[in-house]
């Protein structure tokens, strides 16, 4: 037992409870309540710098169910940064949330706790508990604007499909345990080669992957994404797009490459097909969208497909590319949702056309949105380009053994070209749409400017000086055994 491995998780949990209790001690004005969010941000930043600083502890604890390796540390840093940016966004968005605010902040922190556990999960019990912690928290976060029908609808849809996928996952875990008798990833890996032809075992793996596919929104488990992204409060959508997806990916990496590498290698073609379908589905469905959040929902499906390129490549460079891509995606997607929250907070719908004239209303927001779209489209010099470059490289490198990877690379190429159309549609609406109704300037608070500056700096830094994050991602990828 080495409880010190869990220091970070314990502190984050305490922080969540403190934020919830802080409600009793602060006065009722929503302006003041923002300080609760700032308290949370400051505490998370301190934890990021101290516990996850350069000399973070590594090790395995709790009978091998909790592992703190380079992979876990990479993702924990990622989740903390995501939560900090989402709290900034939530504090800006506070006037739209009628229910008590501090609970919203503490729910974000609880979801973060789930993600931190997910990053360290090394057996199926830990995997399931962490996923449930994330998902159950998100049921509430999604339907938090309880006077808005869209938000409630999104909550119900997320609840039903989320519960269904959890059921699949539990069933899958039960089948795996029933056939192999193992629940720990490392121990399962030792026996899994004996079971690669066992139909019940493989059904279990398939059900487990269905549950994870729901988290990362891969085809065919993507159906909830557009409605939930559109209906949920914008900070929730941002956290869902970044944190929840990344949690799904870290678990997917652990399961596929630590627990059942023997099965994964046989299922390369299956992964290729899933990745290709996800890319095509996301990009093609995003084309006709009018609602910006819905469009970003479909685009998030397509990005899940791009990320699956690195998983499907079944190589260290592929896994490292997944992590690099997620890091770039974090800053990009939070930048775009911050702009959406600030521009559209007084509107009932989030149509792309309501961005018209943004470059006159607020040049900073217009620039941020443009950079975010350019990065999502994967153009230099921003983070998205280098990420896609690494993913394509890993897929093409795998092509020597299986020509299916070349087809996958060409499908990714087709997806990227299709995506230019809708990403440029947003830029076009900002700069040269003539029917702007509202040209009043948008005033930005200092904290909003600060979080936008972090996102822009992140996108440009990752795109132009990738070496630091690439080497961190390489170390993390090598930690998966």
């Amino acid at each position: 037992m080495n409880a010190s491995l869990m220091t970070l998780e314990i502190w984050v949990l305490i922080l969540g409870i403190v934020l919830m209790l802080a409600d009793f001690f602060f006065s009722v004005s929503p302006e003041r309540k923002k300080y609760i969010a700032y308290l949370g941000i400051a505490s998370l930043a301190v934890m990021l710098l101290t516990i996850l600083g350069s000399d973070a502890v590594t090790g395995v604890g709790f009978n091998g169910s909790f592992v703190e390796d380079e992979l876990a540390i990479f993702f924990k840093r990622f989740f903390l940064i995501a939560a900090i940016l989402v709290l900034f966004l939530a504090s800006e968005f506070s006037d739209k949330i009628s229910a008590t605010l501090p609970e919203y902040y503490s729910l974000v922190i609880f979801a973060l706790t789930g993600m931190l556990f997910a990053a360290s999960a090394n057996d199926f019990a830990m995997l399931f508990v962490s996923i449930e912690l994330i998902t159950v928290t998100f049921y509430i976060l999604v339907s938090y604007q309880r006077r808005k029908v869209g938000s409630l609808e999104a909550g119900v849809k997320y609840l039903i499909i989320g519960a269904l996928s959890s059921a699949f996952m539990v069933f899958g875990i039960a089948l795996i345990w029933g056939t192999t008798g193992q629940i720990n990833f490392n121990q399962l890996a030792a026996v899994a080669p004996q079971f690669v032809d066992n139909k019940i075992f493989l059904t279990g793996v398939l059900f487990l992957l269905a549950g994870l596919g729901f988290k990362i929104s891969a085809v065919p488990f993507q159906i909830w994404v557009p409605d939930v992204y559109q209906g949920a409060p914008t900070p929730t959508t941002a956290f869902l797009a970044v944190g929840s997806k990344a949690a799904g990916f870290v678990l997917l990496l652990r399961v596929l490459f630590t627990a059942i590498p023997a099965v994964t290698e046989r299922w390369a073609d299956f992964l290729i097909v899933i990745s290709a379908l996800t890319i095509l589905y996301g990009n093609l469905c995003a084309l006709p969208q009018q609602n910006l959040k819905r469009m970003l929902g479909y685009s998030s499906i397509s990005h899940a497909g791009y990320l699956l390129l690195g998983v499907a490549a079944i190589s260290v460079s592929g896994r490292s590319a997944v992590m690099y891509y997620l890091a770039g995606y974090l800053f990009t997607i939070i930048a775009s949702f911050t702009v959406i929250a600030l521009v559209m907070r007084h509107l009932n719908n989030e149509d792309i056309s309501s961005l018209a004239g943004l470059n006159q209303r607020s040049p900073l927001l217009a620039t941020t949105m443009t950079l975010a779209m350019v990065s999502l489209a994967g153009l230099p010099p921003l983070a998205g380009f280098f990420g896609k470059f690494l993913l394509l490289k890993s897929v093409i490198a795998a092509g020597a053994s299986n020509p299916g990877y070349y087809y996958l690379a060409f499908i990714a190429l087709a997806g990227i070209v299709i995506s230019f159309y809708y990403y440029f549609g947003v830029i076009r609406a900002i700069y040269w749409s003539k029917d702007a109704k509202d040209l009043s300037p948008i005033t930005l608070s200092g904290t909003a400017k600060f979080s936008i500056a972090i996102c822009i700096a992140g996108m440009i830094w990752l795109g132009t000086f990738p070496s630091v994050v690439v080497s961190l991602a390489d170390e993390a990828a090598k930690a998966i055994k």
């Binding site: 153009l379 230099p380 010099p381 093409i396 092509g399 070209v417 070496s467």
Partner: protein, 525 residues
């Protein structure tokens, strides 16, 4: 400090416009004159540095000059590596001068100047960086960086009714081309096994460990057609005339003159030395495709009624000569191709700048409505006439030298294609150019155009500069050929008759037998 700048002047040449663009972000948008002055100054400094570098370049010294190298992502073998040899020194000079001229010509832009100049500077800096870089990653990265502003500029500042369609078409075509080339370049990196993106490093590695024939046959078409789409190789050319017709003049100057040469440069720099077997087998097909550019597009150009579409088509047609030079795979042909790349850069920039001037003043480019423009516009009219003569290959202008060299180079391999290409160059090119000159420059002046103002002294500068460059390299081609030939020799050295027979003899063996066996076979010869 000063010597440091001169030693790293290649970095200075392309970073200067990029830094100027960054500086402009912080200038308030209503300081229009200052914005323009800063942009002109930025491109002037880079042009001056490029002239300095061109004069200091020692031809045939071997290796790369003005090199700088900084590791970037060591685990992947990416480094910031720039340098010039005879093949790209002329291109960098041409890009810098055209960028300076294009910035001078941007006076026609009246709305959102700040954004326009920023994008123009990104375009110029990016493409010069792509030409200068000796690292595969930066080579692609900087080109893509330069390409994206083109789409935005045509979309926002473009002209004509078909502007939106043109933007859509050019974005789609060029993105597909660039991404195909990207897949090819990544495959090249992966398959070579050298674990480096460094171009000289890859070439040196490939000398002892050539790419397997099957990978060459997979990668070469990707690069040929990926780069080919970027260069408007027939039948993937249809984005070009319309795109240039709709683009604002400075964008068309930079794209048609400079950015388009990237694909050709990529073929010469990367595809030819690294994939000799596949290149050799594709060249006959390429020679026939380039006839599509020269003859078919020539005919299309004859039917055009609008000056910009005519120039756009003629610029596509000229690409055919360069492809023919590359297809010949010998020193004369490849040197000629590089020479035309430089010459056509000046020429395309000049013609689009002039048509931009006419559009600005007359408000139309329909040749039926224009006429007798030589009378009100002495200088511009004369410049158009000279540009058109240069376009149909009149001796004394740089294009003549390049085209004649290409024909000499291609004669041995492709006599039929060469005869047809010469016919296309002389007759078809002559017909459409001279007809256009007659329609817009001679004859009676329509009343509404009789009082058009000619370019003032300051505005003559870009046209004079580009014409001077065309004359200079047309009358003293030695200035450029001396630098090109030694390095072109290196590029095609794999194709020398003895080496080629070695490749052909070894061809069946390559797929199955190991490298050691192949080397033994070479020694036995």
């Amino acid at each position: 400090m000063f010597t440091f700048i001169l030693n790293h002047c290649l970095t200075g040449i392309f970073c200067c416009p990029l830094l100027t663009a960054l500086l402009l972000v912080f200038v308030p948008r209503n300081y229009r004159v200052i914005i323009r002055a800063i942009a002109i100054l930025g491109t002037f400094i880079s042009a001056a540095l490029a002239v300095y570098m061109f004069c200091r370049f020692t031809p045939g010294a071997g290796g790369y000059q003005f090199e700088s190298r900084i590791p970037w992502v060591e685990s992947l073998g990416i480094s910031y590596h720039v340098g010039v040899d005879g093949i790209n020194v002329g291109l960098v000079l041409m890009s810098a001068i055209v960028a300076f001229a294009a910035t001078l010509c941007a006076w026609e832009i009246q709305t959102r100047e700040k954004e326009f100049y920023i994008l123009l500077l990104i375009m110029s800096g990016g493409i010069m960086g792509a030409f200068a870089s000796l690292d595969l990653f930066f080579f692609y990265f900087l080109h893509e960086f330069a390409l994206v502003p083109t789409f935005i500029m045509i979309g926002v500042w473009g002209r004509g009714e078909r502007k939106n369609f043109a933007t859509f078409q050019i974005t789609l075509y060029l993105s597909i081309g660039a991404l195909l080339a990207l897949i090819g370049l990544i495959a090249l990196y992966v398959q070579s096994g050298a674990n480096t993106f460094d171009i000289p490093g890859l070439i040196a590695y490939a000398k002892n460990n050539p790419l397997s024939v099957s990978s060459q046959n997979f990668i070469f078409p990707l690069l040929l057609f990926g780069f080919g789409i970027l260069v408007s190789l027939w039948p993937f050319h249809s984005w070009a005339p319309l795109g240039y017709g709709s683009a604002p003049a400075p964008t068309a100057m930079l794209h048609a003159g400079v950015i388009k040469k990237f694909g050709l440069y990529g073929l010469i720099r990367i595809a030819l030395p690294l994939m000799p077997v596949a290149a050799h087998s594709w060249m006959t097909i390429l020679s026939w495709l380039c006839l599509g550019n020269i003859l078919y597009i020539g005919w299309v150009a004859m039917r055009q009624r609008e000056l910009n579409l005519l120039i756009g088509n003629s610029s596509v047609a000229h690409m055919g000569f360069i492809f023919l030079g590359i297809a010949s795979l010998n020193v004369i042909g490849v040197s000629g191709a590089v020479f035309i790349m430089v010459a056509h850069g000046f020429l395309a920039a000049l013609t689009f700048a002039l048509s931009g001037y006419i559009y600005q003043r007359a408000g139309t480019l329909e040749m039926a409505e224009l006429g007798g423009l030589c009378r009100p516009l002495h200088f511009i009219g004369t410049a158009i006439l000279m540009a058109m003569l240069a376009g149909c290959g009149l001796p004394g202008f740089a294009n003549f030298v390049g085209e004649v060299t290409v024909f000499f180079g291609a004669w041995k391999q492709f006599p039929v294609v060469t005869v047809l290409a010469i016919w296309g160059a002389l007759v078809i090119g002559g017909i459409y150019m001279m007809r256009a000159a007659r329609n817009i420059l001679h004859g009676p002046v329509p009343a509404k155009f009789s009082s058009l103002a000619d370019a003032g002294l300051w505005r003559k500068l870009p046209y004079a500069l580009l014409l001077a460059a065309l004359f200079l390299f047309g009358c003293f081609p030695k200035l450029l050929t001396d630098q090109i030939v030694p390095d072109a020799t290196k590029v095609v050295s794999v194709y020398q008759s003895s080496n080629l027979t070695r490749l052909n003899v070894a061809k069946p063996a390559m797929q199955t037998v190991s490298i050691a066996n192949r080397q033994r076979a070479a020694e036995n010869q």
